[in-house]
Amino acid sequence: MQLTGENLVLQRGQRTLCEHLSFAVTAGEVLLLTGPNGAGKTTLLRAIAGFLAPAAGAIELKGGDTEQTVGEQAHFVGHANGVKSNLTVTENLEFWAAFLAPKSNRMSHIERIDKALEDFNLLSLADIPAGYLSAGQKRRLGLARLVLAHRPLWLLDEPTSSLDDASATNLANVVNAHVAAGGLAIAATHLPLGFEPARELRLGRVAAS
């Protein structure tokens, strides 16, 4: 499986963020997007997820499910966590497990939820309404979605924001396990994340023409 972008031109509002951008990520590796603020890291991730159409060029997941869009085969972790304060940690996870993987049965949902709680060190918080959680704990809950349903492509935008070192290590373990099992991941970041094997794609600002 390989995700490719060819000759992409991305625009945000009336500004062009990147031009003639090409990249490829193969199963079993992580692509790190780096570059200054406003270079288009988030925009590129959103374009891959299908939220916005590139002004030119094509994004393709080779070897993926041709019936589904790239976005439907991807987990997307953006700046917001998609966490409901009025639901408990477990209820939040139950909803996403059932919503993202409606075809698998309840037993496998429970197994995956248990794994998610364990991987992101949320077991002790399982029955607490998410509104009581700290920013870092909410981020962990948002990230825990990654293991609730199997999707080959992970799109992570600043995944370690508001995480402490131990949680960042947990995340790195989860991502590395996903990649080792033949998954793909793309992460936009300012910091070293400990993901491997990783390649870097440095985005720069497009000069005004």
Binding site: G13, Q14, R15, R205, A207, A208, S209
Partner: protein, 267 residues
């Protein structure tokens, strides 16, 4: 270049500017002449035996009401062009047609109200056809308000286009629910919500029910006001294109300044 279709060539804003610039004075002159001739014919026609001289209001009221509806149809068609074909001029057309269409709709309401005073004895009655024109005016206000309350212009353009298409789908239902519907051949008869208004006397299955001495000036007047609508629309589109050019020049200037700042910082 030869292989491009007419719409593709027209789509290019630069060509549009050249073409519309040449067309403008002719269109403007023609609309003034036609309206002047229509009003001359209308005002020299014999007064209506029932309505007297107030019938003269018709030569403005009826074209204004038609153009109010045509304006909304034009916005809906342009919105379709934006959402489906991403035509670069479609949004310019939709955006600039809204205030003009709203103005004609308001003109129809004001002239209708002035006509109503001698006919019905009051400036405003909740007559079915006036009410549906009023609701059309509200739909225009919705389009203008939505666009003005979203700062990101491309976003505002697309959302307004969705609203215009929803409006054009619901508009017939609003008209039928307010004005009623009567198709004897299909056995459909939905009563009007409330009516005092004379039914349309031009578009009728049994032929226009209006004297020829009034019909001819009315039709000429409708053509004249339609030309006026397109003159104003074209002018507004030209203004909008220039405004967008100024905006993108300013954006480019900001980017250039920022780029030179970072180079200086790097040195």
């Amino acid at each position: 270049m030869q292989t491009q279709s007419f719409t593709q060539r027209f789509a290019n804003p630069t060509r549009f500017m050249a073409f519309s610039g040449a067309l403008m004075p002719w269109l403007a002159g023609l609309s003034v002449l036609v309206i002047a001739y229509a009003l001359y014919r209308g005002f020299t026609a014999p007064p209506d035996y029932q309505q007297g001289k107030t019938i003269y209001i018709m030569y403005i009221h009826v074209p204004a009401a038609w153009l109010g509806m045509m304006g909304y149809a034009l916005i809906a068609a342009s919105s379709f062009g934006l959402l489906v074909f991403r035509h670069p001029l479609a949004d310019v057309s939709a955006k600039t047609a809204a205030p003009i269409g709203a103005a004609f709709t308001l003109l129809a309401l004001i002239t209708g109200s002035l006509w109503g005073k001698p006919m019905w004895g009051t400036y405003w009655v909740w007559d079915a056809r006036l009410t549906s024109v009023l609701i059309l005016f509200f739909l225009y206000l919705g389009l203008i308000a939505l666009r003005s309350s979203i700062e990101d212009e491309p976003l505002a353009a697309k959302l307004t286009a969705v609203l215009a298409l929803v409006g054009v789908i619901i508009l017939p239902f609003i008209k039928i629910s307010v004005e009623g519907l009567d198709i004897p051949s299909l056995g459909i008869s939905i009563p009007a919500w409330n009516t005092l208004h004379q039914p349309s006397s031009v578009f009728r299955s049994d032929g226009p029910k209006i004297h020829i001495s009034q019909l001819v000036p009315l039709l000429i007047s409708a053509i004249g006001f339609t030309l006026l609508f397109f003159t104003m629309h074209l002018k507004a589109m030209r203004n909008e294109i220039l405004r967008r050019r100024v905006k993108s020049l300013r954006l480019a200037e900001v980017d250039r300044a920022r780029a030179s700042e970072t180079t200086v910082a790097a040195e």
